[in-house]
Symmetry: C2
Subunit: 369 residues, 2 copies
DNA sequence: AGCCCTTATTCAAACGTTTGAACCTCTTGA
DNA sequence: TCAAGAGGTTCAAACGTTTGAATAAGGGCT
């Protein structure tokens, strides 16, 4: 009856209630090796009492004593980016079998939040950290602290091997090339490209891949058809950006039969922009994106895109940290790793052969020239 | 130099490094009231050394001693449901100012995961729990444990006041009515309805609201035009369901000029299904959804829908738990609360006046009759 | 009897904090 | 000169676990 002030049932309570010592109860409930030596009847009794009282071991006390938190900090730069979710799920599924718990935090694109969460992760003695970051996380000085405390860290979405951090990211170069090749194979020659914002790490290599593929295919990308997304803010920035640029494309008066957008949200914005102007997708203009997020799947037409194996990447990231933790047991760090995941083309309804589309676009375009 | 075995810098280390006792260091670094009495020079010195060493207080030890975890468990039934994200963000923003940290877990619709996470939340001594659940969380016996341990709990998305749990949810009845009224005001009379799956709590009241509004408007809902989503599985189940049912609608041969879908994903599925059959949205048929998730914003046409103020609800949920924790300090529980958030209609491109659309649909329909 | 082994249980120290109480060493006022 | 206070710092106990070492009681062996 007498409730402890904390309001939580402790080993002590269970011990008192069943007449055994705290040690015995602990040994039984935590299934320590010694528990083989405990009489079966005792075990049963203790378990029963614990259950009745609703006992749950205190993770703080336990972690303090065991010096293991069984926790991995997962820092997402913005959960509302559909990009993050599958990654997180991959991480989760990698951590769960090893009995590790992700300590998931959403920085909501705020640099300050990011820093303060990183600190918290450290304070909660996460044994490792996974950062999902396209762009935050430039130069946080907490990184130094992480090192000082010997917490292994893996970053997803950027190459930071130069700073001696294990990194996983999509092969943007290959992905960009893949997207352009797809359009070329459909017969498109006059292709508008929307590059990513400068702050974004992915922008450059993706663009490089696009140019390489264009060169290989013997196609010149008209510089007047190359646009760039402005800096980002909010979850629908890509959409609005794509929409605005679509309008610009039409106003430019240059002929094009396909748009290669930086990512899916941008592609969806382009679709909206072109549709508003009276074009039909894909008949009058093909549109391709990058990422393969949910909205691309459920939009009509579905957006052809370059799929990132996010779940797999998350899973791998989880494996890496766990391995690093194990290694740490031994001693010293292994070598810094870099993984470039292979993108995959997903063809949906937003792209089609160029043949007739070129004509239509041309005729339509006059209205906006 | 000599690294402690734990690899973490402790108060002890800082104390040794600067020649003061652990107590003094603790008092300074935790900014305890006593720290006014500590010489300014000492304070500065201690802070400096702590910084240099990369000291971060051990949250376990601290929570253990202070008997406060500053943590609220947040259990989402499925983070990949776009529905969850804004809610989580709302919760986060409600917790942050009070210096509480959400312990976010994603059950990924797995009942077992849900239970095991709930246990973990309890073990980590969360001071409160917020559950985002449309459907999991039927009868988990852990609920009893939660009560035994006096952890305040709030549920989002269901009414569980009958089980003495504070609950927040959207006013489904009003939302359903709102959706139907919108269609009626646009002149639609022959409206197809897709009800939610039975397991889902929201399905029934939403449907009730629809019927009430129909009656009030003097409209009969043709039972042959009322469909029901099958049980759900996976994030795109709603989409596939809507798509399949759209086909069924057309095959039924019954005339309709608008579809009221259970939620946005379903609505998007309907759009796809109808479009595939050659109809145009909204000219040939209006489609309305429910929830206002990201894909509805970025699809073309944008999906007209009933907005749920998820961020606000999350914020309120956070406030409630915090209040409950404060109250707990005092003693005894206040009364169980229920909040029905008011939905809001968001008109986008997927709905339009019925006048011409009825004709077109009729003429189109022949192709599929 | 004495010894060792097994079985069943408990002791007590430790994990890294926080904090009420205690301890010094000065001033200051009477 | 002493008491009282203030300023500055430390003691030591506690939070709820875990775990190596210790204890105790029973056998079986020589």
């Amino acid at each position: 009856m007498g409730q402890r002030k904390s309001g939580h049932v402790t080993l002590h309570d269970v011990a008192r209630a069943c007449g055994y010592s705290v040690s015995t109860v602990s040994i039984v409930l935590s299934e320590a090796p010694l528990s083989q030596n405990v009489a079966a009847s005792t075990r049963a009794r203790i378990r029963e009492v614990a259950r009745q009282l609703g006992y749950h071991p205190d993770a703080f006390a336990r972690s303090l004593r065991r010096r293991r938190s069984q926790t991995i900090g997962v820092l997402a730069y913005d959960l509302s980016d559909p990009f993050c979710i599958p990654t997180v799920q991959g991480i989760q599924s990698g951590l769960h079998p090893a009995n590790y718990l992700p300590l998931l935090m959403d920085a909501q694109t705020h640099r300050k939040l990011f820093d303060s969460y990183l600190k918290m992760v450290l304070e909660r003695r996460a044994e490792g950290v996974i950062v999902i970051a396209s762009w935050v996380f430039e130069e946080t000085n907490l990184l130094a602290d992480i090192e000082k405390n010997h917490v292994p860290i893996v970053i997803l979405g950027r190459d930071l091997t130069s700073r001696r951090i294990d990194s996983l990211l999509i092969d943007n170069e290959a992905g960009g090339a893949m997207a352009l090749r797809h359009l070329v194979e459909l017969g498109h020659r006059r292709i508008a490209v929307i590059r990513g914002p400068e702050e974004l790490f992915d922008s450059e290599p993706r663009w490089a891949g696009i140019r390489r593929a264009a060169t290989e295919a013997g196609i010149k990308l008209d510089p007047r058809l190359v646009f760039q997304l402005p800096g980002l803010a909010g979850p629908t920035a890509g959409f609005e950006g794509g929409r605005a640029l679509a309008r610009k494309m039409l106003e430019s008066g240059i002929r094009f039969t396909a748009v290669l957008a930086f990512d899916d949200l941008t592609a969806l914005g382009v679709v909206r922009g072109l549709t508003d102007a009276g074009l039909r997708i894909p008949e009058d203009c093909s549109v391709i994106g990058f990422d393969d997020v949910l909205p691309s799947v459920v939009a009509t037409p579905g957006i052809t895109t370059v799929h990132q194996p996010l779940k797999e990447m998350g899973l791998l990231a989880a494996r890496w940290v766990l391995r690093a933790i194990d290694a740490h047991e031994g001693t010293s760090s292994s070598n810094i790793q870099l993984h470039r995941a292979s993108p995959e083309l997903v063809v949906r309804g937003s792209t089609t052969r160029a043949a007739q589309s070129r004509v239509r676009t041309a005729s339509r375009r006059k209205e906006h020239a």
